[in-house]
């Protein structure tokens, strides 16, 4: 997937000379996950910028570059290091279109690896997408495979508004897929039904989509399960979700992020508002816990796995 991201960046940089890449170690070193490998060689130091080590500076100057007409793609090395930049994202990037009555627009993409599963150090494994999804004015996109990453990142760069593009680092190299250069961008805000079924809807995104696929495979032909890859966390594709849940009457939502106030909670609220009377069983969520993401020895106890998803599907199917 890291390579698909490089390809998408390259394609957008070729198509639009206003697209810039900036961040820590993105140039000569090609990023710590090599997601920008070779770009500085192709496009030069003016368009692929190794910045000082300062997240507030990276996001804040990206806002300024956006106002001035550039399309910055900022890399934050790990999402756990984003917080000095959070201020600029929330108080400026997300608000400027609204507060200037549409005069200043911020076509900024913030890319950052997130999530656990690679035995990384502290602060390198959290899933904090709900923080960004909660901010009005931001879009939040999470790809689930190399092809998805390619198409969604191209769309994110073309999007006229700020997009937080979170890359599940567990699948940077775990999923291999050939990405064709002529693949079209994937529109933001649209979920994808990756498997059709009519007995139970399973909703996932990022690396958890891959885990959900494995859980469903374990169940074999036992139930007709519909699997939805959310792709965009915010704005949520409520239409696809509600249509599916109305059809199946059952739903299991899974994410790696902490349980409370998360993406699953919002989906459940949407289902309550729009499909409550079609439900056959209470909606289940299979999530991380409301604890600090543990160091890696406890990682497998924290991150939801196939077993937990299968158990949740069995519970809703009993009803």
């Amino acid at each position: 997937m890291a390579q698909a991201i490089t390809q998408a960046l390259e394609a957008e940089m070729q198509a639009d000379e206003k697209v810039l890449v900036l961040g820590e170690d993105v140039g000569l070193n090609g990023g710590v996950f090599r997601a920008t490998d070779g770009l500085q060689k192709t496009f030069g130091e003016q368009r692929v910028i190794d910045t000082p080590l300062a997240e507030s500076g990276i996001i804040g100057t990206s806002v300024g570059l956006s106002i001035y007409g550039f399309k910055p793609v900022a890399e934050i090395q790990f999402s756990g290091f984003m917080y000095p930049g959070f201020n600029q994202l929330v108080t400026a990037a997300a608000r400027l279109r609204n507060r200037t009555r549409g005069e200043f627009t911020i076509p900024l993409v913030v890319r950052m690896p997130y999530g656990g599963g690679i035995r990384a150090l502290e602060h390198h494994s959290e899933s904090m997408e709900a923080l960004y999804a909660h901010i009005p004015g931001l879009k939040v996109v999470i790809p689930s495979s190399p092809k998805e990453a390619y198409g969604l990142l191209r769309a994110a760069i073309q999007d006229p508004d700020p997009v937080v593009f979170m890359e599940p680092k567990r699948i940077y190299r775990a999923i291999k897929e050939e990405v064709k250069e002529d693949q079209e961008p994937i529109p933001l805000g649209k979920a994808k039904i990756t498997k059709e079924g009519d007995e139970c809807t399973v909703i996932a995104y990022g690396a958890m989509h891959w885990v959900a696929q494995k859980a469903i495979a374990q169940l074999g032909y036992k139930y007709h399960i519909e699997l939805i890859d959310l792709r965009t966390i915010s704005p949520l594709d409520t239409e696809t979700i509600i249509k599916s849940v109305k059809k199946t009457g059952r739903c299991v939502i899974t994410h790696e992020a902490p349980r409370s106030y998360g993406v699953a909670a919002e989906i459940i609220a949407q289902i309550n508002e729009k499909a409550l009377y079609e439900l056959q069983a209470p909606v289940e969520r299979v999530t991380g816990y409301d604890t600090i993401m543990p160091y890696y020895q406890n990682e497998t106890n924290y991150i939801p796995d196939e077993e937990k998803i299968v158990a949740a599907i069995e519970r809703v199917m009993k009803e």
């Binding site: 820590e24 170690d25 140039g27 000569l28 070193n29 090609g30 710590v32 190794d50 910045t51 000082p52 080590l53 300062a54 997240e55 507030s56 500076g57 756990g80 290091f81 917080y83 000095p84 035995r119 990384a120 150090l121 502290e122 602060h123 390198h124 349980r259 409370s260 816990y289 409301d290 604890t291 600090i292 543990p294 160091y295 890696y296 020895q297 406890n298 990682e299 497998t300 106890n301 924290y302 796995d305 077993e307 937990k308 158990a311």
Partner: protein, 358 residues
């Protein structure tokens, strides 16, 4: 109304012991011979520990590990100036200083093998756990120093960051708070010349990192960070000032990491072989060893004996870490709050039901 100069600034560079182990006697700080030997032994321990932990990482027994080879003097010189109740707040390459301040080696092994139990200090010295969000320890350290100031304690804080951290807002806010409050704190910038791959010329246009302190009216100095004696002397001076309520000091330790950024890095992508070789000649251990030999207080036999002891110490620490029972779901939940809320109790039960590791 002609323009006139209203301020002038000067900056000193301090080296006491050069690469050949020759010492400027006039600048030589007061330090017991035995204490110097102890520092050297601890530096050797940290050096061997570095190699062993990298080997453990390569075997998959621990996770990503940031080595510290080459930066031992900058870590240990200041640590050697401190009392038990002074605070030593590392970034993440100050193992030599932490070992001198009795942090168990098994702590570091545990932390890097993905086990939070390694973060507990387990020492009677005031040591702070390693910090990974760059520079974020600096305002926290300043707060501790402000507390000492408020309580009129005769203690000081030594806090570390790297060259990259000087670009963070936290660095500047800390210097400003410390200067305004005259907090008893010594900021040490370990300038190893690279923030992962980013060289200092992309990090700052300033000629030195030390001069950043001048803007905050903080006495600042650039020191040969591979010179244990200079790091010791500069810190001692800073402590004297701090104890006289004259406020903070900034020390730039000019050094080099003779290793990759972490076990996940490949420094060959951004540094030349020649540059690396030239810095190996400035190794902080080599020059201290030569000096000790010249003073007739160190021999090859001592070196071999220490190496052997260090190997044993490290092997024992690995055993200690291995002997601990595996982490449990409770480890994840029990330190979240003083009293566990009901939602966490419920989640803990779920976690135990699906427990994975043994």
């Amino acid at each position: 109304m002609p323009r006139k100069t209203i301020a002038n600034f000067e900056l000193e560079y301090l080296q006491i012991m050069d690469e050949t182990g020759s010492v400027d006697q006039e600048l030589m700080p007061k330090i017991e011979k035995e204490r110097l030997k102890e520092l050297y032994k601890t530096m050797l321990l940290a050096r061997t520990f570095d190699t062993k932990l990298l080997a453990l990482q390569r075997q998959g027994r621990i996770g990503t590990f940031p080595q510290a080879t080459g930066q031992e003097a900058a870590a240990i010189g200041p640590a050697a100036c401190l009392e038990k109740d002074d605070w030593y707040i590392p970034s993440y390459r100050e193992f030599a200083g932490l070992f001198l301040r009795k942090m168990p080696l098994s702590n570091v092994i545990l932390s890097f093998s993905g086990d939070e139990r390694g973060n507990k200090n387990n020492s009677e010295y005031k040591n702070y756990p390693l910090t990974f969000p760059i520079g974020s320890q600096l305002p926290q350290a300043t707060g501790i120093a402000m507390g000492m100031q408020l309580e009129k304690k005769k203690n000081v804080v030594v806090v570390y960051c790297g060259d990259g951290a000087t670009s963070e807002g936290d660095f500047h806010e800390s210097l400003n708070f410390a200067s305004v409050t005259k907090a008893p704190i010594i900021f040490i910038v370990q300038n190893n010349q690279y923030a992962i791959s980013t060289p200092i010329k992309l990090q700052t246009s300033s000629q030195t990192f030390a001069q950043k302190g001048i803007a905050y009216d903080i006495p600042s100095i650039k020191v040969d960070g591979n010179d244990t004696l200079a790091m010791f002397a500069a810190t001692q001076e800073a402590i004297q000032r701090a104890k006289l309520h004259q406020g903070p000091t900034l020390i730039e330790a000019f050094t080099y990491r003779i290793c990759d950024h972490t076990s996940a890095d490949d420094a060959k992508r951004y540094r030349s072989e020649e540059e690396l070789e030239s810095w190996k000649k400035k190794d902080p251990l080599t020059r201290l060893k030569i000096y000790l030999e010249k003073e007739n207080i160190w021999t090859d036999k001592d070196e071999q004996q220490t190496e052997k002891e260090n190997e044993e110490t490290i092997a024992k620490a690995i055993e200690e870490a291995d002997a601990l029972p595996a982490v449990t779901p409770e480890d994840m939940f029990q330190y979240m709050y003083e009293d566990m809320p009901d939602n966490l109790k419920e989640q803990l039960e779920d976690c135990k039901k699906f427990k994975k590791n043994e």
